[in-house]
Symmetry: C2
Subunit: 133 residues, 2 copies
DNA sequence: TTAGTAATGAGAATAATAACTATATATTCA
DNA sequence: TGAATATATAGTTATTATTCTCATTACTAA
């Protein structure tokens, strides 16, 4: 599985497997720490380079945030996320796409909407229970 | 207008006036360049310190983005934004708050939603016209 | 007027990510 | 097969927005 002009190296293949094998929406550094256990001298630059390449190929998805590290997601199907401000975990949300809000903006303002970014913040189910104790 | 333990310096007051006097959602550097024309030796650190202070006081709003500078908004009322990927301008959207989607996440997932972030990207009205020529 | 407090300007520090570079693999095809 | 060529790598340095540090200055209120 390789696009013309690109090679599927053991590093890239490992990085892809790590992303596909977790549901934790990991950061580049998480991927780096895991990858080192299989390829001890892999470099952080290689991790970033391949995460970008994989995202450009559409095999993974990058979620970036101001002030903190990007997270990567092996599930490239459309879905939204909830970030817990207490534990920091990112959870998938099984909501369908709100495409109607794009149309609303196009109709009301006349701009041409290509995408929207929607994410939720708060306290997750688990942290809510812990707070009560 | 000063909160106990804080002083309204000429720097802070100027920065607030600059933010309130524009609709362009400026960056810290834009504020810095404008401010220097009134207080030539104002420092960029002072601009950042005051922008943060004003945002904490709720007098302005900070909008941050991964990979590019934060923008500041003197309009602290609830409203969404559209960013043009062609000219880079940020436009206000007169949409009412989508509070129902917070409830949807709470009901479906059991997390406690404190806020959501929703922004739109695409090509603005003006850039669309220029593209056609 | 003076002691105490808060803010400033200048510059250094930070942190995530990208760019650079010499070396090492992979792929192509003679 | 084995050069010749193309791509990726490890290790390192650079970038960029923002924050931090600290000596100095400006308020504030007794
Ligand atoms: Mn996900
Ligand atoms: Mn606005
Ligand atoms: Zn949590
Ligand atoms: Zn535009």
């Amino acid at each position: 599985m390789s696009v013309a002009g690109t090679r599927l190296t053991k590093q890239k293949s490992l990085i892809l497997d790590l992303i596909l094998g977790t549901k934790c929406h990991p950061t580049a550094d998480w991927v780096y720490q895991e990858a080192r256990q299989h390829i001890p001298d892999i470099s952080l630059g290689t991790v970033y380079r391949n995460l970008n390449a994989l995202a450009n190929q559409g095999l993974i998805r990058e979620m970036n945030y101001a002030g903190s590290s990007s997270r990567y997601d092996g599930d490239v199907s459309q879905h939204y996320h909830f970030t817990c401000q207490s534990c920091g975990n990112v959870f998938d949300l099984p909501l369908e796409a709100f495409t109607m809000i794009d149309n609303l903006v196009e109709e009301q303002e006349g701009h041409s909407v290509e995408a929207h970014r929607l994410e939720f913040y708060g306290t997750c189910k688990t942290c809510k229970i812990e707070e009560k104790q």
